[in-house]
Amino acid sequence: MSTLSYAVRDSRTMLRRNLRHTLRYPAMTAMIVAMPVTFLLLFVYVFGGTLGAGLAGGGGRAAYVNYVTPGILLFTVAGAATGTAVSVATDVASGIVARFRTMAISRAAVLTGHVLGSVIQTMLGVATVIGIALLIGFRPAASPAGWLAAVGLLALFVFAVTWLSVALGLVAKTAESASNMPMPLMLLPFLGSGFVPTSSMPGGLRWFAEYQPFTPVIETLRGLLLGGPTGSHATLAVAWTAGIALVSYGWARRLYNRNPAAR
């Protein structure tokens, strides 16, 4: 077999291992879904009436479900990053990564397995959250092509954030610190256009909210799902996502190949 087919085979083996972990440890998957669903319900039913009235054109709670769902989806992705970072850090701490590194297996396989496993897990979580949003009144107006584009962008974004969380998991010394590292990511939907329009924010915060990477992704999803314009947001969203994926991939690879610290 060639090097490439070994790499594919090893990655598949590692993916199978990670999917098995997902099945064995359902609490992690439940957490991925439970947190954003709680926030969704909280924001729609507790704050939704008031926040919806403040949207351009008003519309109350019904309009707010539509507004907040794309933000909640990115909140889901950011939350899932914690699970990925923890499972990578646990692997490193348990010594099994060191074992893999002393075996003649493809160098990329261990990380690829984690990334693919987490992308699948996160996308299933995102699908569940969309389902619950639909149940409580989310009414997207997207065409099939719009849906396809939205899912494609989400998948790309999940891929990028997962590579970032793999790198964070490698950088963390323990599972505990790995669970804290991706925490700031979960704030980004709030400090962007996820829950309220950036135009309602004060100066400096507004500037940050408009230029941080989550905002163009949220705006593009909003445009695609609700049938509005996406404009320059789409290009920015793809550029940010590709950039994060590339940088994080390079970072994770370097961390994985570096010498382990002396015990």
């Binding site: 083996t13 291992r17 010594g95 002393t102 003649a104 297996i105 610290a261 002396a262 015990r263």
Partner: protein, 322 residues
């Protein structure tokens, strides 16, 4: 010992001038060693001596700052994958996947060694029964005892039938029974022609298992040889005798060339390797003189004695395991 090998037989492990530091801390300071194929080699030293770093370099996990390291005939820096294909590593902490069952752990290793399905199942079943894990094969590893995890770890290492196996403190943290089981496993492997490089902080373990022992201290090899050669360097071994009467103590001291006597405790120490033959000779001499012994105890040299003898300082004090 490399000099004793025929030229055509490259040793399993050959290290010359190996150096490695972490920042300012020199961990390995010019190591030369050679391990013949099919033998058991023990690297003996206290915690912090550099044993784990040594294993990490030999098993391609860590780069060296200087020196030449060849394992299974390949340079670890130039051909790491060829080295990896020939070795198996069992680290100090069981590197097993606790969320999988024992059987799944072995099948995972078989997949990564690119065995075909039938061979993978056969090897897995074989190793599960050989390591007494067949009953627990379908249980999640998180529920295994320490000894079981260690055995599974070693079974995982053996899936690919490596020529050279590195065992980093294979019995640290095991109970006496688990330790004996592990020793038997290591002996069986050596009998099958596998080369074994193990690290330990217990002289007894090296003594029990190894054909050749090197003593590592502060990143240098301070002594090396067979267990017997090494023990001759250590004056720590002695027999202690206790007597009922001061008169008996005095006549025994005359008869036995005692190393030291303690008139208060009525004890004396005789330098001895503690072997049965030495013991028999000693008892025969006392018998000849009709000297009655109150109690007798044999003290074999341990790692503390070795370090005391060879370095003049007892570094094992820092060892929290003791």
């Amino acid at each position: 010992m490399a000099q004793n090998l025929p030229a055509h037989d490259e040793p399993a492990i050959a290290v010359t001038g190996l150096r490695r530091s972490f920042g300012d801390k020199v961990v390995l300071d010019g190591i030369d060693l050679s391990v013949s194929r099919g033998t058991i080699f023990a690297l003996l030293g206290p915690n912090g001596a550099g044993k784990t770093t040594m294993v990490q370099i030999l098993s391609t996990l860590l780069g060296a700052d200087a020196g030449r390291v060849r394992v299974a005939g390949h340079d670890v820096a130039r051909d790491p994958d060829k080295v990896r294909a020939a070795i198996g590593v069992t680290g100090q902490y069981s590197a097993v996947d606790k969320l999988l069952t024992g059987e799944e752990n072995l099948l995972l290793m078989a997949d990564l060694q690119h065995l075909d399905k039938a061979r993978a199942r056969q090897r897995t079943a074989e190793l599960l029964s050989r390591f007494d894990l067949a009953d627990a094969a379908g249980t999640m590893v998180a529920t295994y005892s320490g000894g079981m995890q260690r055995r599974l770890d070693l079974a995982m290492t053996l899936i690919g039938e490596p020529q050279i196996i590195f065992l980093d403190e294979p019995t640290t943290g095991l109970d006496p029974r688990g330790r004996r089981t592990m020793w038997q496993i290591v002996r069986d492997l050596a009998a099958r022609g596998v080369t074994i490089f193990l690290t330990t902080q217990y002289l007894e373990e090296a003594d029990q298992l190894a054909d050749h022992i090197a003593l590592l201290d502060h990143g240098r090899i301070i002594a090396e040889g067979t267990a017997d050669e090494l023990k001759r360097l250590i004056p720590g071994g002695h027999i202690e005798l206790r007597f009922g009467e001061p008169a008996e103590l005095a006549s025994a001291a005359l008869a036995l060339e005692a190393r030291s006597t303690d008139e208060q405790d009525l004890t004396l120490q005789v330098v001895s390797d503690g072997s049965v033959r030495a013991l028999r000779e000693l008892l025969a001499r006392l018998d000849d003189q009709s000297i009655e012994i109150g109690a007798l105890s044999v003290h074999t040299p341990d790692l503390d004695d070795v370090f005391l003898a060879l370095t003049g300082s007892n570094d094992t004090d820092k060892d929290p395991a003791r």
